[in-house]
């Protein structure tokens, strides 16, 4: 690994690999093919925007551990991981995006050479970038292996954060604070949505004097006027306008660790409707924050939130949060537990979640969200953006 790029000690990586091997043992796996780019990074440090072609980290219950990817990315694997050269294995370029041959077929040959082709192999059947064809290529070329689904096996190992991970997430929290200060400095009713997105991106990547901003796994989502009734809209050149409300769903990132934080912004004098929801959501957050303690279940947190919301006459038909940390596009969530009433996962100290009591209502919407670390005394926010409806006249 290029030393300047080292984000964690070698012993932290070793511990992660050890934890993963233990979980593999419990699941009866000899070998795990790890496709999720965040899992690849967490296990080895590998960091590059190369996940648009097939690549993986292969980890064994023995000491097997190698990076597998496209030839033009192998130098990058050397710069960002501690793997020896012999454990950085590349496939030839004509396997890239070919209808006739698949990189997983070439991997099958490598597993055969390594006498790993008769093993119990875990694959991430529903993690990003592991396609149906990748799976079927493996099934066809490794007839003597047994495959089982290990989706989220590594993701679950990532749930409780180390102190270095928390430190990166707090750094991301400082950056998102700067981003909101900048938004309030520059936003005007004449501004266009894309200009606001440009300002947000610039501030988030610039970071603070002490820490650079990394790219975030989701681009700024700006729900302006009627678009606030839905999710995941991005931007065009629409003018923000006078007397208009919008939610801004954004994050900052540092060393791939994220701190999402959404706020609602009103340009003009907010209508009573906005002020009412602001009050309700803030009460919901206050009450729910206390629940982010070790021993409490995700379902209990969710129920606390949904009940408080209902008391005020509002309903929300979707989950109110999910775990966060290290991630790559298309999602900054970790895809393990969810804050929904049916989720029985028990919270542990230093788990980190994006508490997301967003309301997408009839013709408008409201978002105030917080990124939270679970502590003995309840949820601690990773960022300190004023928890209020942001107003600019």
């Amino acid at each position: 690994m290029k030393e300047a790029r080292r984000r964690f000690t070698q012993s932290e990586y070793s511990e992660r690999q050890h934890k993963t091997r233990q979980a593999m043992q419990t699941a009866g796996l000899d070998l795990l093919i790890v496709y999720d780019p965040a899992n690849m990074n967490w296990l080895t440090g590998y960091d590059a925007w190369s996940f648009y072609t097939h690549q993986c980290v292969v980890i064994g219950s023995d000491d097997t551990l190698f990076w597998y990817g496209r030839g033009i990315d192998r130098v990058g694997a050397g710069l960002t991981t501690d793997l020896p050269d012999t454990d950085i294995i590349a496939y030839p370029d004509h396997y890239v995006q070919s209808p006739d041959i698949h990189p997983m077929e070439y991997l099958a040959d490598i597993l055969k050479q390594k006498q790993l082709h008769t093993k119990q192999i875990g694959i991430e059947k529903d993690n990003y970038y592991f396609s149906a064809r990748a799976a079927e290529s493996l099934y066809n070329t490794l007839p003597d292996a047994t495959f089982s689904d290990a989706t989220a096996l590594v993701n679950w190992q990532r749930a409780v954060k180390s102190s270095q991970e928390l430190s990166y997430m707090r750094t991301a929290g400082s950056i998102i604070g700067k981003v909101y200060e900048h938004i309030l400095d520059v936003v005007t009713p004449d501004m266009r949505k894309n200009e606001l997105a440009a300002e947000i991106s610039h501030a988030a990547i610039t970071g603070t004097p002490d820490a650079y901003g990394d790219y975030t796994s989701i681009v700024p989502l700006i729900g302006l006027r009627e678009e606030a009734a839905t999710s995941h809209m991005t931007w065009d050149n629409e003018v923000l306008g006078h007397d208009s409300g919008m939610f801004i769903e954004i994050a900052a990132a540092h060393a791939r660790y994220h701190c999402p934080c959404s706020r609602t912004l009103y340009l003009g004098t907010p209508t009573p409707q906005y002020r009412d929801v602001e009050k309700v959501i803030n009460e919901c957050i206050e009450v729910s924050l206390e629940k982010f303690k070790p021993g409490v279940t995700c379902g209990e947190v969710a129920s606390t939130f949904f009940n408080t919301l209902k008391k005020h006459g509002y309903e929300k038909e979707n989950r109110c949060g999910y775990p966060i940390g290290l991630s790559y596009p298309p999602d900054w969530g970790e895809r393990t537990m969810s804050l929904r009433t049916s989720d029985t996962t028990v919270l542990e100290e230093n788990m980190t979640l994006h508490f997301m009591p967003a309301l997408w209502l009839e013709g408008w919407g409201f978002e105030t969200t917080e990124s939270i670390v679970v502590t003995e005394s309840g949820g601690e926010c990773l960022s300190h953006v004023p928890r209020e409806l942001l107003v600019k006249d």
Copy 2:
């Protein structure tokens, strides 16, 4: 569709659906489940950052055409498509990222209700976001259907661009011109990589006075010094430095249409090595550009390039280009043809490709790339960034 968001006429969308249905007929398909977000957009206009959860467009050889996705995205589907409400079908939120139930199981029930469960169904086995579990959920819940691989079926229909599509790509070309002007204005040896990335992002999203910049499907890739020997590295806070070279691999986008354009930048007085490669690559581009004519194969273009390069003593072991147009993260390529010697695809008028004669050498690298439209008189560049080593003293 919200009228201000209309990017193409209704008849252009109808034509695309018609072309797709014809290709389905040739492939013997009654139904096609379209997961690739770019294909979903191309067929219906749907545009949102919602592809981190399972979603698709289902198109039939009859008049079946519906959007299927998560409940919180259905209003967005109404704002960005012309589909009637009855053809915007959502699954309940507890299907999101659940280990026990899968959105494709819920889709299977819908297909049964619509009497489409015994059909010949195409699935995009190797397009983005169609996971192994999505496929297996369909196989298990639709035992009376027959499935076949339709990866890239829609992507191929997108290869030849309409005049409106070309107009958007030229707009993206104007934006990338502005981005490079801005880079040369602001870059200094004291600047950090993340600061350069922030400036690039700001300029690309701001766009021109006439046109907004959309987010690009890949973030700025900055290959500084030894990182230029590899691909897909992003940024940290390393100082660019005096007498240092770097490639900048970026694009601009408008209405999701992309124009990638890479250049190499030298801060200081370029070494003879840089000047030599600059001359070689420019000759390679000149010679190859003439080949981007209807009737020429991808293989012939690639051979022309590789032979010219070899004449000068350089070798490149990876493809030198790929088709571009409408796209979403993680890739701005269309994943159909490739500019490699073995590819026999015949170029047609108004196909668009990113010609990518990048050299990743021993300890350094060089990129000058062009986005090109195929015309009767050879390749026409979609942007007009000076084709030279960019130098700032």
